[in-house]
């Protein structure tokens, strides 16, 4: 374990822990952005330039922004009054620890077999990645294109305003509010300045 790796690892894990434990959702979102950057740094350290930079571009530039937007447009980003933890978090921690321990055990015990088959770290530059994507993996790439088209259509459909009369509410629990309208940048539910 080299010193830079140690620094990056500690930073990443700390950010991830912060993302879980912070009360304010926006703080959590920012913390997870830091964790993403830490992961990108790990990739860069492993000489995977393309993956590392793409990680930043996609996760910090798009995913984190998306999370933040989702938080602001749905619940105002105000910190909850009481703790977000319920009692069941202990079980979560236990399960996590169990999975982690098993994985560590598995990795420890498979080391010898892995050695025999491990190949030298491939020197993958951007050009090779591009060529692989456009030749060998072109079919999955195209299918992903189809997937994104479907997702885009779906996002538009689900966000679109209902044209007809409101559909009947099935379980009669409560009258649903109008579906959240993501285009209402002009009416953010937050920004209650000075109310704290």
């Amino acid at each position: 374990m080299t010193p830079p790796f140690a620094v990056i690892a500690v930073l990443t894990i700390a950010a991830a822990v912060a993302a879980m434990t912070l009360r304010n959702l926006v703080h959590s979102a920012l913390a997870i952005a830091v964790a993403f950057i830490g992961l990108a740094a790990t990739y860069l350290q492993l000489n995977a330039q393309f993956v590392g930079l793409t990680q930043i571009l996609v996760y910090v530039g798009a995913v984190a922004i998306l999370i933040v937007f989702a938080i602001l447009l749905t619940r105002g980003g105000e910190a909850p009054e009481k703790s977000v933890f319920s009692l069941s978090w202990i079980w979560g921690v236990l399960v996590t620890l169990a999975v982690f321990a098993t994985l560590v055990w598995a990795i420890k015990h498979s080391f010898v077999v892995e050695r025999e088959t491990s190949v030298t770290a491939p020197e993958a530059n951007v050009q090779q990645i591009g060529q692989a994507l456009m030749t060998r993996f072109v079919l999955p790439l195209e299918v992903i294109g189809l997937l994104l088209t479907a997702a885009l259509v779906g996002a538009v459909i689900i966000a679109m305003k209902e044209e007809s009369v409101k559909a009947k509410i099935e379980d009669g629990r409560s009258k649903m509010d109008e579906p959240a309208n993501p285009s209402s940048i002009l009416h953010p539910p937050s920004s209650r300045g000075g109310q704290r």
Binding site: L53, L57, I65, V68, G194
Partner: protein, 391 residues
């Protein structure tokens, strides 16, 4: 003359090598590059502010700053001193930590992107294989900083400005990146240095800059429009429209932090202009072989100044867009146009030499421009503007 700064750095490093331990040398070398970048571009920032204020003044039929120093050219210094000694006011309701971090997070990526820009021959801080990707990846981080600034201020205007800014930056990032892809397709590399090298030859009278091809010309225009929107400058300055949002996402900042926002904005503008020069305007290459004796970095900065003047001119002459117009323009014109531009670039590559590729590539770009432009204005009923005065 061309290599004077490179030689200077090597000489300095050679001198230091005698004093310092070997493992420190790369660090010192990096620090020297960083210092040079910060120094040069911060100076450029000062020059631009005064240029902009005087230029806008002239466009708006007034003088602009003319009190401090000769012709008001020391105004930036006065402004800088003012920003530093002003009281730093943080709103009581603000989220203190995020409020403090936002300007820092904004300035760091704005400076980082310079590390891959080739400012002159052999003058690039890091010659990354995926430099272009680095530029955009790091640049993307600034969106988060803008959001942090707007959200942490707990101010309606700031939040509105931040939301507008982020929405705008996300939308215009797509045409910005896609318009550079055509260059990547033709050169087959993501390294800015290699892209500049690909434009270093001369064909006849014109240099082989990509802006002198149909796809490159369209790409350059699209790139500059997107860059303008990314930098939140007029006519895309909705996030900080004074008449609507006071100052947008940095309404609640004062003193030095406010100056940092300004600095980051202009640094971002220089960086993206520098990228435009690198990709389309031949980078540090001289336009004519006869002018090769002028140092390469001088060409880069000459081009940069030219683009800056262009930006000031645009800002002074165009009115601000509405939000819906902004988004319509991005999704219905810019993005289809950059996608078609990729086809035009592919046609350029595959049609072969001579007049044919000019014709095919040009026809694709021009035809789609006419069609999309007509679609954009369809049903808008735009006629000759008439003015009504108060009676």
């Amino acid at each position: 003359m061309d290599q004077i700064f490179v030689a200077l750095k090597h000489w300095l490093l050679g001198q230091l090598a005698t004093i310092l331990p070997a493992w420190l040398l790369p660090v010192v070398s990096a620090l020297m590059s960083i210092a040079a970048i910060i120094g040069v571009f911060a100076t450029l920032f000062a020059i631009m502010t005064i240029l902009e204020r005087k230029g806008l003044g002239r466009i708006q039929n007034r003088y602009g700053p003319n009190r401090v120093g000769p012709f008001g050219f020391l105004q930036p210094a006065a402004d800088g001193i003012k920003a530093i000694i002003k009281e730093d006011v943080v709103p009581r309701a603000a989220d203190k930590v995020v409020h403090f971090l936002a300007p820092v997070v904004l300035v760091i990526p704005a400076l980082l992107v310079y590390s891959v820009l080739p400012i002159g021959r052999n003058m690039v801080a890091i010659d990354l294989d995926a430099g272009l990707l680095f530029f955009f990846a790091v640049g993307a981080a600034s969106e988060l900083a803008v959001f942090m600034a707007g959200w942490s201020s707990r101010n309606k205007y700031a939040l509105l400005g931040a939301m507008r800014a982020v929405a705008q930056m996300v939308s215009y990032e797509i045409p910005l990146i896609l318009s550079t892809i055509s260059v990547v397709m033709i050169t087959g590399t993501l390294s800015p240095v290699k892209i500049v090298e690909a434009q270093s030859t001369h064909a006849g009278l014109l240099p082989d800059w990509f802006v002198f091809t149909p796809w490159g010309f369209a790409g350059f225009i699209l790139f500059m429009i997107s860059a303008n929107a990314e930098a939140n400058r007029s006519p895309f300055d909705l996030p900080e429209g004074e008449s609507e949002l006071v100052a947008g996402y940095f309404t609640e900042y004062s003193g030095f932090k406010f100056a940092l926002f300004f600095l980051a904005e202009y640094l971002g503008l220089f960086a993206v202009s520098g990228l435009g020069i690198t990709l389309f305007l031949g980078g540090w290459n001289s336009p004519f072989a006869a002018l090769d004796f002028v140092p390469s970095w001088a060409w880069f900065f000459a081009k940069l100044l030219g683009l800056i003047v262009l930006f000031i001119w645009t800002r002074g002459t165009l009115p601000r867009l509405r939000v819906d117009q902004l988004m319509n323009f991005a999704w219905k014109f810019m993005i289809p146009m950059v996608l078609i531009n990729l086809v035009a670039a592919a046609a350029w590559h595959y049609v072969g030499g001579g007049f044919a590729r000019w014709f095919v590539s040009g026809a694709i770009v021009l035809g789609s421009y006419l069609l999309l432009g007509r679609g954009l204005f369809h049903g808008k009923g735009i006629t000759k503007r008439t003015y009504r005065y108060a009676e």
